[in-house]
């Protein structure tokens, strides 16, 4: 409890310090460049100067934080990836050459591509189908809330939930894992799902799909509602059936939203770490890049060079989406 008190006090102090910073610097600026009391040219020059500085005062804390926590590390990681395990000796491309020949890394790349193919696709499809279906029924809101709920659950919490579903006991014993109970009830033999190479990846992916479908559903459901009713009505008059309306009229109109959902989940997939760590920690050929990177960060006292090189690979995979996002955002702000 003491600790919580400490946290709340620090929080209050932090907020107060922020308020004080903004207030004091702003006052100071007004003092230094007085606009009242001067006349004509002097006053307007002072006002102009103050207004040129003010935005930077407003942004300074955020810019410093972004620079320290995100911008500098990006460059530093790239630099470290060309250096040895403690970051001192320059080793050129050694870390990257090591990667290409390392079996575990290649395993991770293959698995990551599997994840990238399956998770965004299935989450989006499920999200779209659920959004379209729940739009038509009176208890749609309740259904949406329940499907959206896993969003709030941590990856580790979700891992425990699903580990329980996948729980395995040898044949002949009473199964307490739902999946194996179902399998036994259907007359097949129970399996230790986590230890079946290749297919176990899909059991891990199911967890992320379970979490992300709600996100896709919320975004796509809003997009579906934004479709002009006239286009649908026109299609009805022309004799289109429900399926045709959905695929030919509705889906093309929400293409933008689908792209956003897809890219957002893609980025999340690249960073997925907790699920693999909690479920298998990369055993039975389920390793992925993010978990491998974490592993190398601390393995045998930590190899910062290799860890950084793996991080750079993850970054490279994100860059195309980043550029696409920036382009869209810039177009939007220019249009304003």
């Amino acid at each position: 409890m003491n600790q919580l008190f400490y946290a709340v006090t620090t929080m209050a102090a932090g907020v107060l310090a922020c308020v004080a910073y903004f207030y004091v610097t702003n006052r100071l600026l007004d003092r230094v460049f007085l606009s009242k009391g001067f006349t004509g040219a002097q006053a307007s020059r002072n006002l102009r100067r103050a207004n040129a500085i003010r935005p930077w005062l407003f942004m300074a804390p955020a810019i410093v934080a972004l620079a320290v926590y995100l911008v500098y590390p990006v460059f530093e990681s790239v630099r470290l990836s060309f250096h040895g395990r403690d970051g001192r000796a320059f080793v050129g491309l050694d870390n990257y050459l090591w990667m290409v020949t390392d079996g575990e890394f290649r395993q991770s790349i293959v698995n990551n591509f599997l994840w990238l193919l399956v998770v965004p696709a299935l989450s989006t499809v499920f999200g779209l189908v659920i959004a379209a279906l729940t739009d038509r029924i009176w208890w749609g809101n309740l259904a949406r809330t329940l499907i959206f709920m896993p969003m709030a659950i941590s990856f580790v919490g979700a891992a425990v939930i699903w580990k329980f579903v996948y729980d395995y006991r040898s044949a002949g014993n009473e199964q307490i894992g739902l999946l194996n109970a179902l399998v036994v009830w259907l007359g097949a033999a129970p399996e230790a799902w986590m230890t079946i190479p290749f297919w176990n990846n899909f059991f891990l992916m199911a967890i992320l799909i379970w979490i992300q479908t709600g996100f896709a559903m919320v975004i796509l459901s809003a997009a579906l509602r934004g479709i002009p009713q006239e286009t649908v009505e026109a299609a009805v008059i022309d004799g289109a059936n429900g399926v045709q309306i959905f695929f030919r009229i509705m889906v093309p109109q929400i293409r933008g939203a689908i792209a956003v959902v897809w890219t957002t989940i893609t980025i999340l997939v690249l960073k997925v770490f907790d699920i693999v760590l909690a479920m298998t920690n990369g055993q039975w050929q389920t390793q992925v890049l993010a978990n491998l990177m974490f592993d190398w960060m601390f393995r045998g006292g930590g190899d910062f060079g290799r860890g950084a090189a793996i991080a750079v690979v993850i970054m490279m995979l994100v860059v195309p989406i980043m550029i696409w996002n920036i382009r869209n955002a810039t177009r939007e702000t220019e249009g304003r």
């Binding site: 600790q3 919580l4 400490y6 946290a7 929080m11 907020v15 308020v19 702003n26 003010r54 935005p55 407003f58 942004m59 955020a62 934080a65 926590y69 995100l70 590390p73 990006v74 659920i130 279906l133 029924i137 259904a143 329940l146 499907i147 959206f148 709920m149 709030a152 659950i153 941590s154 990856f155 425990v160 939930i161 580990k163 329980f164 579903v165 307490i176 739902l178 109970a181 379970w210 479908t213 919320v218 059936n241 429900g242 939203a257 980025i267 690249l270 907790d274 760590l277 909690a278 990177m293 960060m297 860890g307 970054m315 994100v318 980043m322 996002n325 920036i326 869209n328 955002a329 304003r336």
Partner: protein
């Protein structure tokens, strides 16, 4: 939907949505129900049987021979297998591990050396021997019993104290609350400048913020770990502290915060700001008195995101916070339990539910803001 209002089709829609909802909620329901079950029952049968009476194979021990009394020329040890308020109905019993159900309840079983054992349905037993019994350990008795469902908070009591979940709960709060509150003001000022102030480089800064939105956390970990170690060594303080993780969470949360708030603020009506400016208000006053109060929905959306993210985070806490009892957060504790208590589902389910209950409460009470934030944060360029 005129064309699709036909009855069978509507029925199919209802049914498929129902199935999807069941599929999505049943894993969590299983966890919750299991965490409330008696731990012996949890280990013996699936949670979907939680409400029905289950048949269990149990082991008990008769009272020690020291308690024997002489009666009718024999020596008798008597008592009940179901002590401590347990309710069950015994159907069979035995004394060998290979034949745990050799005799029916109520039967008188010869178990060697002329000894006779009876176990009745209510769990009471009677062991009769023609000669005085030796030793201090009582006879082992295997029995099959129909146990009625039992729900209890014992699992929660255990994990909160003995497994350290209670301490970790406080740690998680300690991490999440300041990490949520501190960035808000910093981001809001920056967002206002990017939305409503004119200065050279604004477009580039916005582009940078959008770019930073997707930078993987993995890029930051190693450089920051080195930085923290360096700062810690330089000032002679520990490298892993709460202050460190608060600042880290702030840094990682800022791009989303600035982006969300800027989009929202840019959508506020220009007239309000212009009329205030005509009345002689400066940017500082406009921001504090007009923009900040109007931006409350966006601030709330961000706060919810940031809280969920910091509460649910594992990676940042594993790198920037220690693993002592006063620093290990809930997610980290849960990962440790998965390793050390892998088969003890009563511990795992209860612990997991404690870790997810706060986000769930936040989710159900503030869902409106969450949805609004999601829409503002991602529907763009569409």
């Amino acid at each position: 939907m005129t064309a699709s209002a036909r009855l069978p089709l509507v029925f199919v829609v209802h049914l498929s949505v129902f199935l999807l909802v069941v599929l999505w909620t049943i894993p969590t329901a299983g966890l919750l129900i299991s965490s409330l079950r008696d731990k012996d029952q949890l280990a013996a049968s699936g949670w979907w049987t939680a409400f029905s009476t289950s048949s269990q194979n149990l082991t008990g021990r008769a009272a020690s021979p020291e308690t024997q009394v002489e009666r009718d020329g024999g020596f008798v040890v008597a008592g009940s297998l179901l002590e401590g308020g347990k309710k069950a109905k015994v159907s069979a019993f035995g004394v060998r591990p290979m034949q745990p159900a050799a005799f029916e309840a109520g039967a008188i079983a010869g178990i060697g050396d002329g000894r006779m054992l009876t176990v009745r349905e209510d769990g009471s037993y009677e062991l009769v021997s023609p000669v005085r019994m030796e030793g201090t350990r009582g006879q082992r008795i295997f029995y099959t019993a129909a146990v009625p469902p039992r729900f209890t908070l014992d699992n929660y009591r255990e994990v909160l104290s003995a497994e350290g979940i209670g301490a970790s709960f406080v740690n998680s709060l300690t991490v999440a609350i300041p990490s949520t509150v501190i960035p808000i003001l910093v981001a809001a000022f920056c967002a206002y400048a990017l939305a409503w102030m004119r200065f050279p480089g604004r477009a580039i800064l916005i582009a940078v913020v959008v770019g930073l939105l997707v930078v993987p956390l993995q890029m930051s970990l190693i450089p920051l770990l080195k930085l923290y170690n360096g700062v810690g060594a330089f000032f002679g303080v520990p490298a892993k502290t709460y202050v460190g993780i608060w600042l880290a969470h702030m840094g990682f949360g800022l791009p989303l915060a600035i982006y969300l708030l800027r989009n929202y603020m840019a959508g506020l009506p220009r007239e309000i700001m212009e009329s205030a400016r005509i009345d002689g208000a400066g940017d500082f006053d406009i921001f504090v008195k007009i923009v900040l109060p109007l931006s409350f929905p966006a601030l709330a959306s961000f706060a919810i995101f940031q809280f969920l993210w910091t509460w649910n985070d594992l990676l940042v806490a594993m790198v920037f916070l220690g693993t002592g009892d006063d620093e290990l957060v809930l997610t980290g504790r849960l990962v440790n339990l998965l390793g050390s208590r892998g088969g003890n589902w009563e511990i795992l389910t209860a612990s997991a539910f404690v870790t997810i209950v706060v986000p769930l409460v936040v989710f159900f009470s503030l869902q409106r803001y969450l949805v609004r934030g999601l829409l503002a944060g991602s529907v763009k360029g569409g």
